[in-house]
């Protein structure tokens, strides 16, 4: 077989390898970028790869047991405030 045919056959093989690799990688990158692949399931509004808002996502941090009730109170208070006060 002439050299250009050998190279062509190699290129055809690599083409399909890359195509399969792309098809396999794209969903992973997309899911990762949208934060869906994290443990804990889908999280709208969060990203696995924060760039524009690089501060740590509060949802990600484990909340100590002793502060959990306080967080709940604060959240409730915030809800009442926003419901009562004129926006």
């Amino acid at each position: 077989m002439l050299p250009h045919w050998r190279i062509t056959r190699f290129r055809r093989w690599i083409f399909w390898c890359f195509a399969v690799l792309y098809a396999a990688t794209l969903p992973i990158i997309l899911l990762s970028a949208f934060g869906i692949s994290r443990p804990g399931g889908p999280a709208v509004g969060r990203s696995a790869i924060p760039i524009y808002a690089p501060v740590a996502d509060p949802v990600d941090r484990p909340i100590p047991e002793e502060t959990a009730p306080m967080m709940s109170v604060l959240a409730t208070g915030s809800s009442i405030r926003s419901a009562v006060l004129p926006q």
Partner: protein, 563 residues
Amino acid sequence: MRFEYTPFPEDPEEMAWHRALCRLPLIATWSVLLIMGISVFAFPYLGAALIIAFLLFYVFRLAYYGLFLAVAFLRVLSEERSSWMERLRDLAATASPASRKKGGKSRFGNRIASLLHAQVVESCRPPAAPLPELERLLHLVIIPVANEDRKVYEPALRALAAGSLDPKRHMIVVLAVEARFTARVSAQAEAARREYRDAFRDFLVVSHPADLPGEVPGKGSNVGYAASTMTEYFLGHSLDPSDVVLTCIDADAVVGREYFACLSYYWLAEPDRVRCCFQPLPVFGNNIWKTNPLVRVIEMSATLLQMIDSTSVDTLVSFSCYSYGFSTLEQAGFWPPDVIGEDAAVFWKTFLHYGGDFRAIPLPVTVSMDAAEGRTFWKALGAAYRQKLRWAYGTENLAIVFRGLFRHNLVRGRRRRQAILKFTDNALAQATWPIILSVLIWLPQVQQVLAKGNLLPMNGLGTVTTVVLELSTIFLALMGLATGVFAFRGSRGIPAWRKALYPLEWLIVFPVASIVLGAAPAIHAQAKLAFRKAIIYVPMEKLRGETAGTAKWETENAVPGRT
């Protein structure tokens, strides 16, 4: 209904198909750009996903290109110094080159070259069909001359006359001049004929009459006319057209001393020589240091793309300087006289004529040509833009070939799919990639600012963008270094600091050049095609001898032994 390779089909229904297909590239380009741009603002999730999908595709494409660029470089750099005459003798005797060269230099490149040569010789041994006789082989070289001065094509003639494959025995040169230009051009061509006729087997000047019916002024009609007149010449001289290899080179192209020996070698070795053409590697390096950095990087990127294409006979198409079997072209009807981009047009016409069973075979030798230049920065940029517009107008072939594929079913199977993929990729890549990479990928940031950073789903895009741009930068730097191999060849007298800055030019200038001399002429050509605005073939101005450095180029590039 019979298919004709023309952009002006007579049948009204065929014309309607053609017009619709002419609009396809422009519609596809704007669809891609608008869908990506609008979706970032209207549907941020979708916009981010599309941009991520493109960026990932781009990374894979860079890796794919990088791999085959390395393969192409390895082949060209290994083989270009080979003695093709010696190889031709090996081929005739089907000697074992690998064993004979064991005592020679053990450089890595030499070993690769010996290995490739051994593969060729092996493929020619029985039971393969016997090779044609080298003694009967004849090279017909057509040099189209529009309004170029003699000093433009003089180096080309000198290089042909200095070829290692005896030009007095094997070569007929035809200067194809345009009658529509001044008498000075014809007079100079005649003077060249008188001076060089003894250097070749024969030397002819063929004048292409102006305004022949059904023709568009350009290189295609000129070369096609010259080739068609040669049919009678071969009959008159009792020469068999199937022994003739036709090579079309630009007036400013300089071939190496071993070029025709290499071409003969592959012509003899290729068992299916009637169904293929031969494509050397064009390097726009004659005057590369006289033009501006924008043009320099774009011209060199054209060489790189051609190198990448040369690693697959599935995707390679004849470009600029190329060779065909004369009888192959004769059967296919030579060049289409009414298509501007003649190099690709003659390939696709022959491709359709043979039902897709036609390929371009890469030759591992270079042909040196002129880059676009001008007396000022802006004139050089304008000349380069017009040249790229003309090249991009080659999209015209898409409409004609798609007509042949979809309406006439001339090609089926794998070659049909490959042709569709090639045209789609060509039409979209040049027109959209620079704009996506320079503008569209930043739109999510604009969207974030406008939406006051509330739409966090696009956050991940930032990381992907950063990684991709870093990889692109590395790839650009590598391209700068790689093309230096060719760019530095004609750089005698160029200060070392300018050469040192050359890879940096790629990093700084290429992003701008890819829009100004890449996407802009591509979209411009698509718009012209869609709205039926023809472009007029204007030969590129050659400033040879008018600026410093020309004499240097002529001596450097016509060095015997360089291929």
